[in-house]
Symmetry: C2
Subunit: 257 residues, 2 copies
């Protein structure tokens, strides 16, 4: 039986402030919750509706959930009302945001990091994190002005990458100090930058991407070691920020062989 306090908590976790206060987030849907369990994220409790029992995969997940945390049965209508996005597929969980801080983080063999400077669309943040994981980034850092990566839409779009990669929200000075101490060259994504294949060499690179409409903020742009662009041969078209970051990380990951 779900208590009133738990119901209030679930509704509250749609808001960034409440997520930050509680250090908790919402995840929903069979695949996302499977990935969350695979990654060893700590669950507080789960809500399940009868829809979860409709498939063999859903039933297997229900058994795993029962072993991991208290599971409350709710109606499909209730679940839809409490979910952060459409289509929770019969399951919604409240889980702990994995602790991540720069002070504890060693880049190790990791040659790449991704930095977000004012990215506003939660779906883009999730897709950017997924892309960072695919190209072996050891860190995703969100600068002030960037949307919360633990937004339900971002969690869904990340396809589990948020559970596997350290994701920190950090002031500019602190991040630059850490990047400098670990020998990262900082490359800002900017249409006026060098073609990415002509970038200055370096063992480690941090790629900084900016806001969907406005690009990098001036203070951040000014602190980059170089600006890099996806060459598009004189066209006036632009790319979605996650697509541009994907191409740049693809090139940077090749250069880092």
């Amino acid at each position: 039986m779900l208590t009133r306090a738990q119901e209030k908590l679930v509704r509250g976790l749609g808001q960034r402030g409440r997520r930050e206060d509680e250090r908790l987030f919402l995840a929903e849907g069979v695949r996302v919750v499977e990935e969350l369990l695979d990654a060893g994220i700590v669950l507080r409790f789960a809500l399940a509706s009868s829809a979860l029992e409709d498939t063999e995969r859903g039933r297997a997940l229900a058994r795993r959930l029962a072993a991991a945390a208290p599971v409350h049965q709710v109606s499909g209508g209730e679940l839809n009302r409490m979910a952060g996005t459409r289509g929770p597929q019969g399951v919604l969980v409240v889980a702990e945001i994995p602790p991540a801080s720069l002070a504890d983080l060693q880049p190790g063999a990791t040659p790449l990091a991704l930095v977000l400077d004012g990215v506003q669309d939660p779906g883009n943040i999730g897709t950017l994190t997924r892309t960072a994981a695919a190209f072996g980034c050891g860190l995703v850092a969100c600068l002030p002005g960037t949307v919360d990566p633990w937004n339900p839409k971002s969690v869904r779009a990340s396809a589990g990458a948020l559970f596997r990669l350290p994701v920190v929200t950090v002031p500019v000075d602190e991040l630059w100090a850490w990047l400098g101490a670990h020998g990262f060259r900082v490359l800002g994504a900017d249409a006026a930058g060098l073609p990415v294949r002509d970038r200055p060499p370096g063992r480690r690179a941090a790629l900084v991407v900016g806001n969907e409409g406005g690009g990098l903020t001036t203070p951040v742009r000014d602190r980059c070691d170089a600006l890099v662009a996806v060459p598009m041969r004189g066209r006036t078209e632009s790319l979605n920020v996650a697509v541009a970051a994907g191409i740049l990380l693809y090139e940077l990951s090749r250069g880092a062989d």
Copy 2:
């Protein structure tokens, strides 16, 4: 004054069937409507709320709209209720889907085309079209099972690319006949494919991307000349379909120099 019939039309255009019957679509937001006018798309009528007068850019757009089509003033609340997505920024228009058919299309100097095989997310379709435009594709072709590219969310995510590029919905046989007649090599995006830099050579390439979860359908995969992948060096991570297509089109556009 908006008539009842016009109001019904606007609401109906949220549905694919009605868009296809009427050959009309909805576009909203200052930037999207500017791009639509720039591209010479034919407007039936526009709805504007007082919010459009809040900025100089909005007022300039209001003047352009007044010269292009009947403009009906509505309240901000009414506009929000009729809009297909959040945040219409004071403007919503009903416009004609630009006619595009393979029979009339000559690839000319265009070395690339993008084919969508069962892509389901409207945002992805829009982002894919935007990416195709950025890399000089001469065509976006949607196979059966793909979401309607004229969905309001797709229109918004395309950042105007839908207005500038021929976008057709077409059966497999007809598309393959056209691609064959114009010397396109057909490359399917598949994680098990060749690294894209090792693809077979060819003057023209059509890249086919599949469903977000399931990839290419079997009949389409079987008809591709080769399968290509983004090399990710043994990782189990996957990429969002628009990011993967972006990297593949980037590589194909370089090969086509």
